[in-house]
Amino acid sequence: MTELAQAVVNGLQMGFLYALVAVGLTIIWGLMEMINFAHGEFLMLGMFGAWWLSAGFHLDPLLAIVPIALAMYLFGMLVYQQLMRRVQGGDPFTQIFATIGLLFLLQNAVVAGFTSDYRFVNDTFLQKLGGVRLTLLGVTFAVPLLLAAGLALLLFLALYLLIERTEFGLALQATSEDRDAARLVGIRPQRMFAVAWGVGAALVAIAGAILVNFFSVYPQVGLQFTVLAYAIVALGGFGSILGTLLAALLVGVIQSVTVVYLPPAFKDAFVFASYLLIGLFRPQGLFGRF
């Protein structure tokens, strides 16, 4: 029983990290219904930014969150204005190919600039707490992951309030639902989309700055998270921030519990099987509005 409880706790801890990665996609794909296959590369840029600020300026990744988020907000807006705005009205395949092109461009640009070496961020605040554990009823909690989970919760809360409780958030939702109607009431859709891309890029870059405490940094690191992030957003329900959080936790727990009882090869198979199962009964996802 303790074994199962430990697996659930491990899964929840990882789930919060997955939620951090998926939250940016919730805005761009889930809310604004635009496809971004370069989402993982935005994460990778956030991780490289955190590594660069740590290696060059001895800035802890937690402090690096601010400049990285700002830089990536601007980068996200730039990507929308210079690339996605031009393909937005076209066939969805155009968006797919545009963002796949962006994926390769960003990945190979980083390979050219930094080489394919694995890079490591050391002596960070969270890493120094690496060996600190809390034990409750025989179940161990890792303090660094608990702190990361707290940060993820804070981000989700802030995003939820931004989308659901502010005029800006309502304007974003209105643009997503009916662009022409939004324009009639004075909302500038292009601006909304640009800001959504900026916020989405900033959020996933923040996730990257937190992830460098737990993962190595290399140009292809984003890919392994991208597929999971897409599954999480679809599982949680398009446009639902709460749904994304809960789906991420569910994915973490499924992965973790599966491995305790079955060979690790089934880890992701069960994640996607659960997505298919839920899709049969709730195609809109767990908390989807559409």
Binding site: N10, Q13, T115, N122
Partner: protein, 435 residues
């Protein structure tokens, strides 16, 4: 009579011409098709192989005072001084891409030799393409035994395979108690990734562990590209094996280290086979955390002793011109050794004709003095260098590898093995060589 004499002269001249060896077309440059994983999952490996090929191109084409094949002098003397040229293509760590690239290198670029792909899995996919084209193919760092067990006519590997290298680890573990090592190591857990290389290692270890007196208490295969290994660590912890035999790539090894640290998991011995243990970048990063202290693994050479070789030092200086100052890791050493052997073959063949190259390759009998690595020489049976060797090393508190086995080299290295593997607290509290 005059007419008869003229006829005789013409007949003799014609006979003379017909018995002359046809002149070889002059070789302007020797083209080596190099297919490497420069982007994608195995990019960090591909990058080291790229630097290795740039190093060899430099050594062959320029006059270096280095006692390795084709070190002194410019170009291939056997081909009138023709230079070597590597045509490098990136397969993005994808098998189907590698096959297409190899077909292009053969049919469009008309290369004389294919080198690559650097990983066993993808090399096994390009082998049939090159074999049917009838060109020499080499992959020196590829360690899967299956690559040379197919009895292909055109494939050559100078490096040791996993049977040799994993056997080294188990020979060491078996003989260690007789040499003052611990006598209470009885159980082992296998922890491997899911590609051809990892699974070959797993198979060899599954076979050798019981023969070395170990009971396998857990055999876990993980997914390459895993984002978490927390539950796997939980199972390893529950199995409580004395020895952990881990074969994982650097990214997954970092995930494993973090999850182990959080869970407080540390077996008595961590033994590895390649993967992160061969990756110079991972090793350098561990110096800042003491993360690799006490890890032992297989290497193709005594890393701590090889530095004393004058040729190694000089080759390393050339390598550093391309590697942004990074020293040769063992993978780079294996690749450079193999590429210099290839250059020697081409020079001995005095031709780029595939059959001549194949014959010269099979005729190889290279002495250890010509190598930058501790092989006993280079000599082939079914494309495998039977004189390639395995060595067991351990990372010390200084962050460097030290030789533990074979015992004669270990005596020269004079290193006291770290046992048991230090706890995470001990690693945190000790001074870190990288800081």
């Amino acid at each position: 009579m005059r007419r008869l004499t003229l006829l005789a002269v013409l007949v003799v001249a014609a006979l003379g011409v017909s018995t002359m060896v046809p002149a070889q077309p002059k070789v302007a440059e020797v083209l080596i098709g190099s297919v490497l994983p420069l982007t994608g999952n195995f990019a960090s490996l591909g990058q080291q192989y790229l630097w290795a090929s740039q190093t060899v191109e430099d050594i062959v084409n320029n006059d270096y005072d280095i006692q390795v094949p084709l070190g002194p002098g410019k170009g291939f003397p056997g081909l009138g001084g023709a230079p070597i040229k590597f045509i490098v293509r990136d397969d993005q760590s994808r098998g189907e891409q590698a096959r297409t690239i190899v077909e292009q290198l053969i049919s469009v670029n008309k290369v004389h030799w294919i080198n690559g792909e650097g990983t066993s899995g993808i090399t096994s996919l390009i082998q049939p393409v090159v074999e049917s084209a009838g060109l020499p193919l080499s992959c020196h760092p590829c360690a899967s035994p299956t690559l040379t067990e197919k009895r292909l006519k055109w494939f050559f590997r100078t490096g040791p395979n996993d049977k040799t290298m994993v056997a080294s680890v188990f020979s060491f573990l078996k003989e260690w108690p007789e040499r003052g090592g611990p006598r209470d190591l009885k159980t082992i857990a296998l922890f491997t990734c899911d590609n051809l290389f990892c699974q070959d290692n797993r198979k060899v270890a599954t076979d050798l562990a019981p023969k070395a007196g170990f009971k396998i208490v857990l055999d876990l295969t993980t997914k390459t590209g895993a984002t978490t290994l927390a539950s796997e660590v939980q199972r390893l912890q529950a199995a409580n094996a004395d020895v952990l035999f881990a074969v994982q790539y650097p990214a997954e090894t970092v995930v494993f280290e973090n999850d182990s640290k959080r869970a407080g998991y540390m077996p008595k011995v961590i033994a590895t086979s390649n993967g992160a243990y061969s990756d110079e970048t991972w090793l350098q990063a561990q110096k800042k955390t003491n993360g690799a202290a006490g890890w032992l693994g297989r290497d193709p050479t005594a890393i701590d002793l090889v530095h004393d070789r004058p040729a190694w030092k000089k080759v390393n200086e050339v390598y550093k011109k391309y590697s942004r100052g990074q020293n040769m890791g063992e993978l780079a050493m294996r690749e450079i050794t193999g590429l210099l052997w290839m250059a020697d073959v081409i020079n001995r063949a005095k031709s780029v004709d595939p059959a001549a190259l194949q014959k010269a390759a099979n005729d190889t009998n290279m002495s250890p003095e010509q190598l930058i690595i501790d092989y006993k020489g280079i000599k082939f049976e079914n494309g495998q260098n039977v004189l390639a060797t395995g060595v067991v090393t351990q990372v010390g508190w200084d962050g460097e590898k030290h030789t533990l086995w074979p015992w004669d080299l270990a005596a020269r290295a004079n290193f006291k093995p770290i046992f048991p593997s230090p706890s995470w607290q001990e690693r945190d509290s000790k001074p870190k060589p990288g800081n």
